[in-house]
Symmetry: C2
Subunit: 218 residues, 2 copies
DNA sequence: CGGCGTGATTTGTGATCACATGAGCGGATG
DNA sequence: CATCCGCTCATGTGATCACAAATCACGCCG
């Protein structure tokens, strides 16, 4: 028996530090925390019913990924990104995700495109409901579903790290963004996938990734 | 007074977990450990004169960066990369470092080029001495000196993460590589910098980054 | 009324310990 | 002689504690 095989309830039996890590990670990536929010090890431990030790490990891990900021005295906050930093992370997203999409293209069959369309309708629903967290979550789900086909785990992990770093800021950004129109770039991505049009796909992904961050220039 | 200001002896007064982290990090990045080597928390603690707690934090942090592999039971080893993984990491290096070099180009003045030439002569010396660790160290120093000019800290951090993941494998790779000729691609990089030739620079960086990893295809 | 020093308290750090578990080794068995 | 089973010990996990340092608030002085 492979001890890694945990058919269901994967998270239940996992080590405490891992449960805490995962919970905090999705919370941050989905933009459920505001930039600059302070965390304490005892507070985290209390929330999850564990001691400081696993809380510390989870925090360290997240800090190593850039998802949390550790002051010189060890205080923990979610990062407050400068505009420069945001632009750099957007450039990274473009770089990585264009490559991932390009690698996924030859492997993208009809089943994937159907799935992307389903997810995309959920995205549109979140936009119409002005649900920022739901929008971020489904939007990332869309991108991840596509990039999984690229068969490039290290590259995907890096892209997710960038998402993680942008998480708290994204929430604040999309909060002031008053769109209710459905995501046009996602449709362009799907169309390019259908047509097997690689240049078009690269352009569409690049636009989709950088558009949301463009408004901060003002 | 800024408490962050530690003019000299920065590492001495730093927290224990940070000292351990940094020591292990450079050890791994410079290829001073072989792939698949096992580490124990008590062993690390003993080596650095600290308890298991800081050792655990350092290990967790390195594992989060992909520099160490944690088995499902928590055992710690340096990663043994598959050829697929190595190729993917090489592609990531190409992607990131070409961009970094490109961004550094307009900011590259004569002082930088002189410095690169100095470092490059050290690289050549390491090659002639067949000093694998010294070669890796000076080679990374060359690349970092260039990329620092790009003013893109997040991107540089990602590139360093890739170096870290490749560290143990690089040692094994360059060990079986019996070259004694000086690094030709570095000269091309310097020449392109002097000429302000961006396409040439991108090509030279891409070649330099991918050439060493090409021999594993056989 | 405002700036600043001082003390109380919150907070991270690191050591130690008890516990569960998994790895590795040795021996028994076919 | 190979294989499988069992045990033992090494190893990671998580809780608790003592300590130091930083933060915050209060009150004092200008």
């Amino acid at each position: 028996m492979n001890p890694n095989a945990r058919p269901a309830q994967e998270a239940a039996s996992a080590p405490a530090h891992d449960r805490v890590y995962r919970a905090l990670r999705t919370r941050i990536m989905h933009g459920e925390v505001t930039p600059g929010a302070a965390l304490t090890l005892r507070g985290i431990g209390g929330e999850f019913g564990v001691s400081m030790t696993p809380a510390r490990e989870a925090v360290r891990r997240l800090a190593a990924e850039g998802a949390l900021f550790l002051s010189s005295s060890g205080r923990v906050t979610t990062p407050e990104l400068t505009n420069e930093r945001i632009e750099e992370l957007a450039a990274l997203r473009a770089l990585l995700e264009v490559e991932l999409a390009s690698r996924a293209l030859p492997r993208a069959h009809m089943a994937l495109i159907d799935r992307l369309q389903t997810i995309n309708s959920n995205v549109a629903e979140m936009v119409s409901k002005r649900d920022a967290v739901g929008y971020i979550r489904t939007n990332l789900e869309f991108h991840r579903a596509l990039y999984l086909r690229a068969q490039a785990p290290a590259m995907l992990a890096m892209a997710e790290t960038v998402w993680l770093q942008l998480g708290p800021t994204m929430r604040a950004l999309y909060g002031r963004l008053r769109r209710t129109d459905p995501p046009q770039n996602h449709r362009l991505i799907i169309a390019a996938l259908k047509a097997g049009d690689e240049p078009g796909l690269r352009l569409a992904v690049r636009s989709d990734v950088t558009q949301g961050l463009r408004l901060l220039a003002g």
